[in-house]
């Protein structure tokens, strides 16, 4: 039980790092990397919300149609609505009980609550046939994965805007290529696309 959880977490961090190997929620990663102080709180939020969404997914998936257009249309809508409700609840609670904290972190919170990676977790655990423990482990692991991805992107930032490079590549283009090479390295584990 615990080991399967840890294994799922390890998977989420290393081989199936959603952020680096598939580029999910990558806009959030780059945003966090721009202000390294914000990485910690952001990844905590990501951990929390991905945990919520994995639990929701675990319980909602059986209720939804599995095949055909209906599945393709309904599943995402329902899961997204669930995520929206989760976010609103969390925001309401924080706002009413810790207004100061909410004021400081509201932007970070919504960006880490509503992003591709968090909403992808139910699909991933469904396609991998994870149990509840593994899903939870995967969710926690993806929080850590977010932290690692942001830290790596932040570390690569100086070499992505050094004075010696062509002007056109300075900044975002270089960091996109940086991350591309990084995901190339990660592809050595899976030998192909992770998802």
């Amino acid at each position: 039980m615990f080991y399967s959880m840890m294994f799922a977490a390890l998977l989420a961090v290393s081989a199936e790092n959603m952020f680096l190997s598939a580029g999910m929620g990558f806009s959030r990663v780059l945003r966090a990397a721009r202000s390294p102080r914000g990485i910690g709180p952001a990844s905590l939020f990501v951990t929390f919300f991905s945990f919520c969404s994995s639990v929701e997914g675990y319980f909602l998936f059986p209720l939804l149609p599995a095949e055909g257009e209906k599945a393709a249309a309904l599943r995402p809508a329902v899961l997204a609505c669930a995520a929206a409700v989760t976010y609103m609840a969390a925001a309401f609670v924080l706002k009413s009980f810790f207004p100061g904290f909410y004021e400081k972190n509201s932007r970070t919170m919504q960006l880490s609550a509503i992003n591709t990676a968090v909403l992808a977790i139910p699909y991933v655990q469904n396609s991998k046939g994870f149990g509840l423990a593994q899903s939870a482990g995967f969710a926690l692991g993806s929080g850590l994965a977010f932290f690692i991805a942001s830290a790596l992107a932040a570390g690569g930032a100086p070499s992505c805007e050094n004075p010696d490079m062509p002007k056109a590549f300075r900044g975002l283009p270089a960091s996109l290529i940086y991350v591309g090479i990084l995901s190339m390295g990660l592809a050595g584990f899976t030998g192909g696309p992770a998802f």
Binding site: S14, A15, A151, L152, G155, G156, P158, S159, C160, N162, D164, M165, P166, F169, P173, A174, I177, Y178, G180, I181, L182, M184, G185, L186, A187, G188, F189, T190, G191, G192
Partner: protein
């Protein structure tokens, strides 16, 4: 001409040229054993890299300006990692992709955060896995033309055998002479060691990275053997198979992509070794060196920041 008028230690271009010389020396044994094909491959790859370099400088400065030989190092390293029976275009294409996509955007030698040759190797492994992982059996008869197709009997490299959890049918000591199955430059352990010695003595490569790299690989191999055998045998097989040794001498020691402090380099080597063994154990390919180096390079800025903090906080403030 301006101060200083004296220098201590080799200059950057001198270090590059020494690495180049070592790589060229690595080319001798394969050329003797397989005929002109390895040399032809090397020439083509280096020419491709030079062409890419020239193209980039033309796009950027409007004139061809090549002021270091790092492109040749990239080309030769990439060739060393390809099997001799692979099509000649394979290393060339990989080098071109690496030069254009991973070097040109980041500037001249010293700026790119990743080892360009590792990018080339990883690119080849991902895009053309069959070409870059079918090895020929040098024991069986073969005809290798410098260019064009060649006839050979395919064989499984020791790394792949280990990957399948079996014991290679070659004695570990036979792997020293470069008679085994594998990529061009990665089989002759003794030649690699000699070139490494040359580089370490000339201070073109840092010893500590290699040592910690090999140490970690050996420890992992000893404690988690993939095949049923004594730890020592497992260590021998793991170290001598695949491109591990070559990587330890020529890829992780590249000063421009390794940390700037002694402790940092040790950590970097250990990290690369761990990652390499992880790719070997859990990865998709038996040939993990390039991927491991790429992942380890990504961690270098963090290692540097940390070691810089430690140097300035705990280290000497003044003499």
């Amino acid at each position: 001409m301006c101060a200083p008028y004296v220098k201590s230690g080799p200059s950057a271009s001198a270090m590059l040229n020494q690495t180049l010389a070592a790589l060229a020396a690595m080319l001798i044994v394969p050329t003797v054993r397989y005929g002109a094909r390895p040399a032809a491959m090397a020439v083509m790859a280096v020419l491709t890299c030079a062409a890419c370099e020239a193209f980039c400088s033309l796009m950027r400065y409007g004139k061809i300006r090549i002021d270091d030989s790092s492109f040749a190092v990239t080309g030769l390293t990439a060739v060393m990692l390809t099997p001799v029976n692979a099509p000649v275009w394979l290393p060339c294409a990989a080098c071109a992709a690496a030069q254009l996509a991973a070097k040109a955007p980041f500037g001249r030698y010293g700026r790119p955060p990743f080892n360009i040759a590792a990018v080339a190797g990883a690119f080849a492994a991902l895009c053309w896995p069959s070409e870059s992982f079918t090895y020929m059996d040098p024991a069986k008869p073969f005809t290798l033309l410098p260019f064009g197709a060649c006839e050979y009997t395919a064989a499984v490299s020791p790394a792949a055998v280990l990957k399948n959890g079996l014991k290679p049918d070659v004695q570990p000591l036979d792997m020293l002479w470069g008679t085994g199955v594998g990529a061009i430059g990665t089989t002759a352990a003794l030649v690699i060691a000699a070139c490494g010695l040359f580089l370490f003595i000339r201070r073109a490569a840092s010893l500590e990275t290699t040592v910690s790299f090999l140490l970690v690989c050996a420890l992992l191999a000893a404690f988690f053997p993939r095949i049923a055998c004594s730890p020592l045998t497992s260590v021998k097989y793991e170290l001598l198979s695949g491109s591990l040794l070559f990587c330890s001498v020529f890829m992780v020691t590249d000063p421009s992509t390794s940390p700037k402090t002694f402790a940092g380099r040790c950590v970097y080597g250990a990290l690369a070794g761990g990652l390499l063994m992880a790719v070997r154990y859990f990865g998709a390919f038996g040939q993990g060196a390039c991927f491991a180096v790429l992942l380890a390079d990504a961690a270098v800025p963090l290692i540097d920041n940390f070691s810089f903090k430690t140097v300035t906080v705990f280290g000497r403030r003044s003499v």
